[in-house]
């Protein structure tokens, strides 16, 4: 069987919404989305699944770049995006149900960003 876990395709930020739309039209489901903070940049991962096959896209964005939300295309993305926004401080705009950093209600602000000396 193909090794889906290693296969990560890097795409530019402006293609994110287009790719998400294509995946939606193909009838795939959103498997997961997550953010990583490395070298003063965010790496956002979006995985889509069709039965057992999985495609993972990676978007590298700068700290101040705005990321369009894909929750209008994939509704369940709102949980992942709220998480990215609150824990990492990724600037995502247009989330369907935006908790405004009250998703986890933590005392520390963007803990995953601060601790690595980002801000």
């Amino acid at each position: 069987m193909e090794d889906y876990g290693k296969n990560i395709i890097e795409i530019p930020l402006e293609k994110l919404a287009i790719v998400a739309g294509e995946e939606k039209n193909a009838g795939h489901r959103l498997a997961q989305a997550c953010a990583t903070y490395v070298n003063d940049k965010y790496e956002l991962l979006y995985s889509f699944e069709e039965d057992y096959a999985m495609t993972t896209y990676k978007v590298v964005v700068g700290l101040d770049e705005e990321v369009p939300s894909i929750s209008r295309i994939f509704f369940p993305a709102f949980t992942y995006e709220n998480e990215m926004k609150e824990l990492f401080g990724v600037k995502i705009k247009g989330i369907v149900t935006d908790y405004n950093d009250k998703f986890y209600r933590i005392a520390t602000e963007t803990p995953f960003l601060k601790k690595k000396g980002g801000k």
Binding site: Y104, R105, I106, A107, T108, P111, K115
Partner: protein, 151 residues
């Protein structure tokens, strides 16, 4: 009020534990361990509870909930911290959102160690809590705040 300390009701609350200790607290009421033979009943209502079992290291959002539940339990009450996380914070002590132990929020009477705490040790903790409960009750009676036993 003789039945008072012979049938304490237990309230369990999960204050950010990993679930392991919660499941063991529930397992105590199951046929194998059966704490109901000591007259202990697991209740969902703080107003009915006498013994408060807290698991987990308490995070920012949970602290006011734990405090509120503690305030709702009528006097006398005994707090049992179940599991290593509830005692000190355990492996999660260094996490950014963990306060580190139930005693940071409310006074704790009995500490039950273990990760996850075994049902035997939880029962041992609860039985110790019973003795303490009796003591607290006697003290209340002496101070004229409660009804004496045997009536």
């Amino acid at each position: 009020m003789k039945s008072f300390h012979k049938s304490p009701w237990l309230l369990h609350y999960d204050a950010s534990s990993c679930n392991g200790c919660d499941i063991e607290v529930l397992a105590c009421t199951m046929p194998r361990y059966d704490v109901e033979r000591f007259g202990i009943i697991n209740t969902g209502n703080p107003m009915h509870a006498d013994i408060f079992c807290v698991t987990g290291g308490v995070n920012e959002q949970n602290a006011p909930v734990v405090k509120q539940i503690y305030d709702q339990i009528p006097e006398p009450k005994v707090v049992v911290a179940v599991g290593t996380c509830a005692c000190t914070g355990g492996v999660f002590k260094e996490c950014y959102n963990i306060l580190g132990g139930v005693d940071k929020v409310i006074p704790v009477d009995i500490y039950v160690p273990g990760c996850a705490a075994r049902p035997e040790s939880i029962i041992d903790g609860v039985v110790k809590a019973l003795a303490l409960y009796q003591e607290k009750h006697d003290k209340m009676v002496k101070e004229g705040r409660g009804l004496p036993e045997g009536e």
